[in-house]
Subunit: 400 residues, 2 copies
């Protein structure tokens, strides 16, 4: 028995609300996780590597996983990184934390895409930096305006070490930055010495064809740090990811005191992932979740078209999110209490901007629920929208 009357903490992050179709969570459906295959891979790695799997690992990450990552990226990206350009992380967020610790100082100015992954704001702000949005338009970040902003900020005496963005099947938009802008952004970064931190978490989740080549694959050494993850392709609870960067930055991460002291950041799990890949489980599982998420995307897109004809959106060709633009005048935050009353939820667009904007947008996640639940969620959202725009029905929850 615990010594005090405090409640035992929960197991998982997700708060289940059975009455609500909660489309706010960018989490996988627990039923989609590779329970048996991962159990086998973990046991297989312990058999294959013996005590080497449970002792202090190589600080960059164990060789077998690094070798497989290089090979895999040769298939899924514009080019394979060299082996000394790969560092195994404890997830993409941990990669961002490490890179920020290395590149950012208190008082620096860091640029972030607008909109972009909201929790990255807090991860960066933890390092004492000020966040500014990079200039963008409906097609995404505007490279030349971004270059001008960097130069202006530097003339004003600011240190601007990096720009964070999710250019491929992005969170929250599902959008990918088009090829010419990628090339232009890399050129701007090369010219200004701005490091692009490319969160490439969703690369493997393309539903209509392969993902575009990463910024990393287009750039010279030292221009881009690209963050990869196994959270979306395999399982977030493993806390395993990787990054690609110039060899000196990879070496600096491996020399970091706690990485060296710990023998890498998630050694046994990294070897289990190498085994998961070797057994073919990675490819098989990825094929199955791709199908699953494509179906879920299609169901959500069709339901929105049917029940919410007045909202606009671009069909995402990958990732986990649909980014709706409300027709107005109701805003996403004004709509939210109606939605909650009607048993559906989402994140208002404001979460994804560091400035006070985005309230005309709604982010819906389609990762957590199957097609029927997604459709029901959209029905409820349509009901909430109708109520929110109808002065007679407003607030009359009992009758709606």
């Amino acid at each position: 028995m615990p010594p005090t009357g405090l409640p035992v903490p929960p197991i998982v992050q997700f708060h289940s609300r059975p009455e609500t179709v909660d489309l706010a969570w960018g989490h996988p459906d627990p039923a989609s996780l590779p329970m048996a295959e991962w159990t086998d891979a973990y046991a297989g790695a312990l058999r294959r590597y013996g005590g080497s799997a449970l002792t202090y690992g190589y600080a960059n990450g164990p060789g077998p996983l690094i070798e497989w990552l290089a090979e895999r990226l040769g298939h899924t990206d514009g080019r394979a990184p060299d082996l000394d350009q790969i560092f195994v992380t404890a997830g993409a967020s941990h990669g961002l934390e490490l890179v920020a610790a290395l590149l950012c100082g208190r008082g620096d100015t860091v640029l972030v895409d607008a909109p972009t992954y909201h929790l990255a704001f807090r991860m960066l702000a933890d390092h004492g930096v000020t966040l500014l949005p990079a200039p963008s338009d409906p097609d995404g970040i505007d490279p030349s305006a971004t270059g001008e902003l960097v130069q202006r900020l530097r003339r004003e005496g600011h240190r601007v070490p990096l720009l964070y963005l999710v250019p491929t099947f992005g969170n929250p938009t599902g959008r990918s930055l088009a090829g010419p802008r990628r090339a232009e952004l890399v050129a701007v970064a090369e010219r200004t010495g701005l490091v692009l931190v490319e969160d490439d978490t969703y690369r493997e989740l393309g539903y209509d064809g392969p993902a575009p080549p990463s910024l990393y694959s287009l750039a010279g050494d030292g221009v881009v740090v690209r963050l990869g993850s196994f959270s979306k392709t395999v399982a977030p609870g493993l806390r395993l990811g990787w990054l690609t960067a110039a060899p000196p930055l990879v070496a600096a991460l491996a020399r970091r005191g706690y990485v060296d002291s710990g023998g890498g950041v998630n050694h046994a799990t990294a070897l289990a992932m190498a085994e998961f890949a070797r057994l073919g489980s990675y490819e098989r599982h990825l094929a199955s979740v791709r199908l699953r998420y494509r179906e879920q995307r299609d169901a959500l897109v069709a339901a929105v078209r049917q029940h919410l004809p007045e909202v606009t959106f671009a069909v995402p060709s990958g990732g986990w999110f649909l980014w709706l633009r409300l027709p107005g005048p109701v805003t996403a935050s004004a709509l939210l209490p109606y939605a909650e009353t009607d048993g559906v939820s989402y994140l208002p667009g404001t979460h994804f901007f560091v400035t006070d904007s985005g309230d005309e947008y709604v982010r819906l996640s389609y990762s957590l629920f199957g097609p029927e639940t997604l459709v029901e969620g959209v029905r409820r959202l349509a009901r909430a929208m109708a109520r929110s725009g109808d002065p007679v029905r407003r607030g009359t929850d009992a009758r709606s």
Copy 2:
């Protein structure tokens, strides 16, 4: 095939040198790791918790492990922490990294015990702090002189947020700070507002009786952050540990951007550890490694007494290390090349001080090798010492 001719990185941190009895490494014998039991626990956790084991976890660490840790500390320490005083880390080093990120700023002065765990220096220095040794004597840290130093530094305008030490079966000395000094040090910290970061990695590895109550258990809220680990009791490759701290500090860690984003720092492994404990494997394995390390300590101590009668040391009653004082005039660093030539190695004492001192000390690890190898290592060390002190035989490797 990897795309370039670079060598594939290794799997583990340890560089095997089969010809050398390398007593420099504070690593476990790979043969001592609980391969089968851990495999079972991991598979058991995936069965027990299902998809909850592989999705985003609770940021503080999963409830079942936190509950067990509280209970366990009720047996192994002076008091059990409350459930909201526990945070699950990715190892003690990761705990130190997190605490330093929260408490230290660039330019701060941080005190460290002298001697103490050498890689902690780099972990702290990564945060831009200056390290100073806390005053100590042969019985360990001197609390009142430490309090005076803190006050003097602060009068001179320095910020002194914390003191790092390993007061129980410490690295490198194997020594434990005596009870009265513990109480005095806690009182000094309470009076000065200095946070004690207590690395409690070796608590469970007592060979002659239980460990003394931790500083944490003696102190009021907010005075001590205590770092715990599963690296020595179970396996370092898991990257799993924990810390106990005042609830506001635990809450601040859980709110840290990348911890929140990742859903804890090593969720699946943490649940597997809860299962390892539930199955009784933790207690059984700990009993077996305690026996093993006690035997190894005894063999090393006896061999040093027999073959190196001129060195002095205190028999450690726990931990992984023997801390020898050389009789002089040869220093540990001067002896090292002779030792290497004779097929034995160690860390000179200088590693464990931030000032230029300690070269009269040698740290021998007894964790990695069985009794026979340890004895052979000491024989070689005795030969090296004889050669190093004998002008005729110096440098005549072939005849030694």
